[in-house]
């Protein structure tokens, strides 16, 4: 007999983990299909002397470079930014930095306030209870009272250390009269919920062996499975199936050996990131019901991809600050130039996060700011700068454009032969003006903080961590894919929990908002369970 779940979740990352735990804890029979595996923390490279080599290959953020069987290729020949992700239980949280900013009230109303893009159908206040709840589930370290935000609940843990560099830049901003605040991080500063605190090793983006950095394999899946959720790893979904009533009936998936299965469910939740979810919706096209892709009557599935143009401005002092050490994550943040200022030649703004620079290989084979220098001058450069720097990592708000999109590639496929996604993306002139302004201000910040020299790595291509917007939220089915509950307009028992639903990108790291939205979606499903249409 075929087993039919209440809810099928596709993807065990940030949004999938949060939704699955909440639904399982509220009595839903949940099955999750995840193409990756449980991460093995003993294999994380950060404690090995070769970690900086590992992050350039086996532990690269790009699935195309890592090229593991659970990865799928992402064709990005026609993109200014390379999409980055990680396929495993915990998803891309395994390799994210762990900074945990909320979006701001203005982020939900950019059309009303600034005349660009679109407003969200929900407001900041709608998410506040979910932001507060998710902070407690995750174990966020931070300090309440940031005047860049409306007042909200305190974080469950004290802020992580400022470090020498954080302290210097904080003092620099005080001299300039500019905003700064200790960055909230999804990284434990003290023991919490059975997990150990951060040890400041500075290797967060190649996996946190201590388990101090939150990822749902630690924070959500153990609780979800304890509540009865069933998580199947090595399970690659090839398409969502549709029944005669126009309702989703489940998904076809392939195991590691390539054997095909079908998982039936009353409700399907896509949680596969804004590239993977768009890919699956397009793969689920059906000549009879949805020839252009599932839930795509608006034609917007895959369109409006946003990835946050990313620049790094590094400054170096004339003494040691142990610039390779500290959470990565960020020590301090600045929203001085986040909100729109009509005197500038762009609208919206960017968030800054102060991060370590890395060990010797990252320093001299820069993935961030700086140039390679060889010969005798190499030693002079290392002596002058190594261990003496810190970087402002700058994410600029990326406004949606329909031409930035995910499609299916006609030629490339994953290891199961399923067509790969192809990303077309251009950084707009507006974004270039916005980022140029921010880069100049960030260099001023570091100079005012006592740095002797600065360098800018402008709009780095290898930076597509933040994948958003390919199935936008809205109340009008003609110009959106999901409603404000993240239920697809076309298929009433199909939901999207990941950042595909973002209407605009904001200028902050998205994982905090992704998880708050996923919790809200799951909570509304619980509340409206009796009204939910399901297949016969």
């Amino acid at each position: 007999m075929t087993y039919r779940a209440d809810v099928l979740v596709i993807g065990a990352g940030a949004s999938g983990g949060v939704a699955a735990r909440h639904l399982a804890e509220h009595g839903f029979d949940v099955v999750c299909l995840e193409q990756g595996d449980w991460p093995d923390r003993s294999a994380f490279p950060g404690t090995r002397p070769d970690w900086e080599l590992a992050i350039r290959r086996d532990w690269a953020m790009s699935p195309n470079v890592r090229n593991r069987p659970e990865d799928y290729p992402v064709v990005h020949d026609d993109s200014d930014i390379e999409p980055l992700m990680y396929n495993a239980v915990g998803g891309s949280m395994i390799i994210y930095a762990g900074t945990w900013p909320r979006m701001l009230p203005s982020d939900f109303r950019v059309r009303t306030l600034d005349g660009v893009a679109d407003d969200w159908p929900i407001a900041y206040q709608d998410l506040v209870p979910y932001y507060d709840a998710i902070d407690r589930q995750i174990g966020v370290s931070g300090l309440a009272g940031d005047p860049a935000y409306p007042p909200h609940d305190d974080y469950p843990l004290p802020p992580l250390p400022l470090g020498v560099a954080g302290r210097r830049v904080a003092e620099g901003h005080n001299r300039l009269g500019w905003h700064w605040w200790p960055e909230p991080n999804a990284i434990l500063s003290a023991p919490y919920d059975g997990r150990r605190p951060c040890v400041q090793r500075g290797v967060c983006t190649s996996g946190c062996a201590e388990g101090a950095k939150a990822s749902t394999d630690l924070t959500h899946w153990p609780k979800a499975t304890a509540a009865g959720a069933r998580l199947i790893t090595g399970a690659r979904v090839s398409r969502i199936t549709l029944g005669p009533q126009g309702l989703a009936t489940g998904a076809v998936w392939l195991d590691r050996a390539g054997v095909e299965h079908h998982q039936e469910a009353d409700v399907v939740i896509l949680a596969a990131n804004a590239v993977g979810t768009a890919r699956l919706l397009l793969l689920s096209a059906d000549d009879r019901h949805c020839p252009d892709g599932l839930a795509n009557s608006s034609g917007l599935v895959g369109r409006r991809l946003m990835m946050h143009p990313f620049s790094v401005v590094t400054g170096w002092w004339d003494d040691q600050v142990e610039g390779w050490q500290g959470h990565f994550g960020a020590s301090i943040t600045s929203y001085q130039f986040y909100e729109t200022d009509p005197s500038r030649d762009f609208v919206r703004g960017a968030k800054w996060a102060l991060s370590p620079v890395g060990g010797p290989l990252n320093h001299i084979l820069p993935m961030r700011a700086g140039n390679e220098v060889w010969g005798a001058d190499h030693h002079e450069l290392m002596g002058r700068t190594f261990g003496r720097g810190a970087s402002w990592a700058i994410f600029g708000e990326d406004l949606p454009e329909e031409s930035n999109r995910v499609e299916l590639d006609p030629d490339r496929a994953d290891s199961h032969g399923i067509p790969a996604p192809r990303v077309s993306y251009r950084i707009s002139d507006h974004s270039r003006r916005l980022m140029a302004f921010q880069e100049e201000r960030a260099a001023e910040s570091l100079t005012a903080s006592g740095c002797q020299e600065t360098a800018v790595a402008s709009m780095i291509p290898y930076s597509g961590w933040h994948l958003m917007g390919t199935a936008r939220m809205g109340e009008n089915p003609a110009n959106s894919v999901v409603n404000s509950r993240q239920q697809t307009h076309d298929v009433p028992n199909l939901y999207i929990a990941d950042a595909s639903v973002f209407v605009t990108s904001s200028g902050v790291n998205p994982t905090c908002t992704i998880t708050a939205l996923a919790l809200r979606t799951a909570d509304l499903l619980v509340q409206r369970r009796s009204e939910q249409k399901v297949p016969a």
Partner: protein, 144 residues
């Protein structure tokens, strides 16, 4: 002496000569060969990064050590980027794995540190955040 595999052979003696041009003795730092970095660590680096082997072998074969100068690296970069990346990555990785070099640059590796998570109360009490607080809210009101 060569390090061999099915796909590529690397002339280690030649590579050591090239490495000494890329990382010579200067500014108080030893050269690559003075810390025996290639002989000591190349196998280890290639164990971790087998993908570097072929382009590294190509780079070593293409560059004549007696004529090699740092300036030649930019043309290698232009002509064969993979070979350039493999050569500079392998030479630098071997060099910075040397404990002698690490000690000289003051790098202990990525070490675990302990700290008092409540020490923030000291800089708060000292008034570090006061100027930020005194300026008041900077977030923008938005309609519900």
């Amino acid at each position: 002496m060569t390090v061999a595999d099915a796909n590529a052979e690397i002339d280690v003696s030649r590579l050591e000569e090239l490495a000494d041009v890329i990382l010579p003795a200067a500014h108080g730092m030893p050269s690559a060969s003075e810390v025996n970095s290639i002989a000591a660590y190349l196998d280890q680096v290639l164990d971790w990064r087998g993908d570097l082997r072929q382009p590294l072998a190509r780079a070593v074969a293409a560059l004549e050590p007696s004529l090699f100068t740092v300036d030649r690296l930019s043309s290698l970069h232009q002509d064969d980027e993979d070979a350039y990346v493999a050569l500079t990555t392998a030479v630098a990785a071997c060099y910075y794995l040397s404990p002698v070099v690490r000690e000289q640059i003051g790098y202990p590796g990525q070490v675990a540190k302990t700290y008092d998570p409540y020490s923030y109360t000291e800089w708060v009490a000292e008034g570090l955040l006061d100027p930020v607080m005194e300026r008041g809210p900077i977030w923008r009101e938005a309609p519900e």
